[in-house]
């Protein structure tokens, strides 16, 4: 069956809600994301748009009071929603792995980095300690850690941020997962290291065929690394397109704003473009389109109707009334 599935991950209509004392917070509100085999898919958005929660939902590592209330998460055609804790433990780190934003704090300070990677191997594979150690040193070599034998017995505090993130990537890749989720893996690193890490991730994808879900707020990273990109806003996907198409032809006013707020070397005006306003409170969402209060092209219909994702050709999907034939027809 697995061979017939061409997508590593398919998220279908997933809703992740947090049930707090002050009401339900719909952090992820009906998201569809598809990650084909051996593809790097970016998920972009501002803080609080639900991109990290999407990742944590896939990992099933949501903290109380968060819960997936609806939808399916298909990994190679197999639904992860409703798996028991034990089944998820076998999947995490083996079929899906994850790296995080903070390489400084994401490794346990009291164990050597080698031991922490070995632990991941021993959890999922039936190998001896020596074999696991050899595999760890191999993966260290592969992720470009100099002197891997020596680094095996280093503690996290003895390594730089870039090296630690390489260790994290090594730990994530050592069991050859189907999918690696990277939650802003380069945000805490400086730009030269960022470029190296992105290069490494692409190289690993090419070598192993692992799909990558790249979560970031940095469109530069998306342009550099991803094949396909989803733009999220307030818990919903607003636009989805192949990377080149999105940068050439940004169609949602939000994406447009995001792209415009990147400083460019050719830009001569003094002030940088910003999208006015703030991400809405998820408990008091505006009626109609969620982006409407901040949108420059808002129409009357926008406050009444939440548009569906509309296919505008070339694998490009947009959730905006501007592209709704019915709406546009009525105006003309």
């Amino acid at each position: 069956m697995e061979n017939n599935v061409k997508n590593t991950l398919e998220i279908k209509g997933m809703k992740t809600h947090f049930f707090t004392r002050r009401g339900v917070v719909p952090a992820v509100d009906g998201v569809d994301i598809t990650i084909p085999k051996a593809t790097i898919v970016g998920i972009v958005g501002e803080s609080g748009c639900g991109k990290s929660m999407t990742a944590m939902s896939v990992m099933q590592l949501l903290q109380y009071p968060g819960r997936i209330v609806e939808g399916e998460i298909l990994l190679d055609g197999e639904n992860l929603v409703g798996k028991t804790k034990k089944e998820m433990c076998e999947i995490r780190g083996n079929d899906i792995s994850m790296i995080f934003q903070e390489p400084m704090t994401s490794l346990n300070p009291v164990y050597t980095v080698g031991k922490q990677v070995t632990e991941a191997i021993m959890l999922h594979q039936d190998v001896s300690k020596e074999e696991a150690k050899r595999m760890t040193i191999d993966i260290f070599k592969k992720v470009g850690i100099p002197e891997p034998e020596k680094r095996y017995s280093s503690y996290p505090h003895q390594l730089s941020g870039g090296l630690r993130q390489r260790v994290m990537i090594g730990m994530a890749m050592v069991c050859k997962p189907k999918l690696m989720i990277a939650d802003e893996p380069t945000t805490a690193l400086d730009v030269t290291i960022e470029a190296q890490i992105l290069h490494l991730m692409r190289q690993l994808r090419d070598e192993t065929g692992t799909s990558i879900m790249m979560i970031t707020h940095n469109l530069g990273v998306v342009a550099e690394l991803c094949d396909y990109v989803y733009v999220m806003y307030a818990g919903k996907v607003m636009e989805a397109a192949p990377v080149k198409e999105l940068f050439k032809n940004p169609s949602h006013p939000y994406t447009f704003g995001l792209l415009n707020s990147i400083p460019k070397i050719t830009y001569t005006k003094d002030e940088l473009y910003t999208i006015k306003g703030m991400v809405p409170n998820l408990q008091q969402l505006p009626s109609g389109c969620r982006f409407c209060p901040r949108c420059e092209k808002t129409m009357r219909v926008c406050t009444e109707k939440m548009p569906e994702l509309i296919d505008i050709g070339g694998g490009h999907l947009v959730r905006c009334c501007l592209y709704d034939k019915e709406v546009v027809g009525a105006y003309e």
């Binding site: 990992m59 590592l61 804790k85 034990k86 433990c89 076998e90 999947i91 995490r92 780190g93 083996n94 792995s97 994850m98 995080f100 903070e102 704090t105 994401s106 490794l107 346990n108 300070p109 009291v110 922490q116 632990e119 991941a120 959890l123 999922h124 503690y155 505090h157 994290m168 730990m171």
Partner: protein, 306 residues
């Protein structure tokens, strides 16, 4: 490492001298002299004079201090007890085994109860188990030791007639004091374990451990616990050193001849050499306890390795 320990031990010497200086000064300020305390009403002037001369009590206290420091640090001579007329060293080494027995058994109770109770209440946060464990811990911390001792003596010694009330000869005698003393220490250990474990569970590396596919038990025991034990181990070592230097109240209530009672008796009778000897002994123990805590800390946390 060796250099570090040596340095720490050498620092102990000036600290000890300062402690002795303070004791000397305080005993000088306190009313009453050892001879009056010993003889009571039947003071004979010539006896007083002879003893004062013999013990050198006519000299100013600073001179006596100098003499004492010289004897202790150069000759290892802590002097003789005024009251018991025997070397202070002998008296301390006679009492110490009882104190060690009491301290070890109490510490075992404190650790074996305190740490698991802390773990349970952290893992089952805000449940009935948490409340029970923390309630138990709070009782341990807030109940006066003498009261808890008498309560247990009443229940187990008098009502149920299971355990001896006083004395320190058989293993049965050790049970109640160990529980009483261990309970009060276990309270703070349990609370400390709980709060540190909860804090450790909020760290990013816990998320990494979960993302690796470790189950919740593995996450807690392999990753959170070791990180959360550092402050607990420090407290345990210092508490243990404190127990070794004598638990006066417990020793008194249960009639155990340990260091604590020795010290208090010495104070009551103005037995200056004995008092100084036992205080130096306790101070040294506490300082060694601190040193051991620091060394253990460096084994637990590679970041502070010396």
């Amino acid at each position: 490492m060796f250099k570090y320990i040596l340095k720490r031990l050498l620092i102990c010497i000036p600290v000890l001298i300062t402690v002795v200086l303070i004791i000397f000064w305080m005993l000088n300020v306190l009313p009453g002299n050892p001879i009056e305390q010993m003889m009571g009403e039947k003071l004979k002037p010539d006896v007083v004079e002879r003893l004062t001369e013999k013990w050198g009590l006519n000299d100013p206290w600073i001179v006596r201090f100098g003499r004492y420091i010289r004897d202790v640090f150069l000759h290892g001579d802590f002097g003789d007890s005024y009251k018991k007329n025997r070397p202070v060293i002998d008296l301390i080494s006679e009492s110490f085994p009882n104190t060690v027995k009491l301290a070890v058994s109490a510490a075992l109770v404190a650790w074996l109860v305190g740490i698991p109770a802390g773990i349970v209440s952290a893992v089952k946060k805000n449940t009935i188990f948490d409340r029970l464990c923390m309630g138990f811990a709070l009782c341990g911390i807030s109940m006066p030791v003498f009261w808890a001792a008498m309560l247990l003596q009443f229940i187990f010694g008098y009502k149920l007639n299971l355990l001896p009330i006083s004395g320190y000869t058989t293993w049965k005698h050790m049970i109640l004091p160990a529980i009483v003393l261990g309970w009060s220490s276990s309270g703070s250990i349990a609370r400390l374990t709980r709060s540190n474990l909860l804090e450790a569970m909020r760290n990013d590396y816990i998320r990494t451990a979960r993302a690796k596919g470790l189950n919740e038990g593995g996450v807690i025991y392999k990753h959170a616990l070791k990180n959360s034990m550092m402050p607990v181990v420090t407290t345990m070592a210092i508490q243990f050193a404190g127990l070794l230097s004598g638990a006066t109240i417990t020793e008194t209530v249960f009639g155990i001849g340990g260091i604590g009672r020795l010290t208090v008796n010495a104070l009551q009778t103005r037995d200056i050499p004995l008092l100084q000897g036992s205080i130096i002994f306790s101070t040294a123990l506490i300082m060694i306890g601190n040193l051991v805590a620091d060394i253990m800390y460096s084994f637990l946390d590679p970041r502070v390795r010396v």
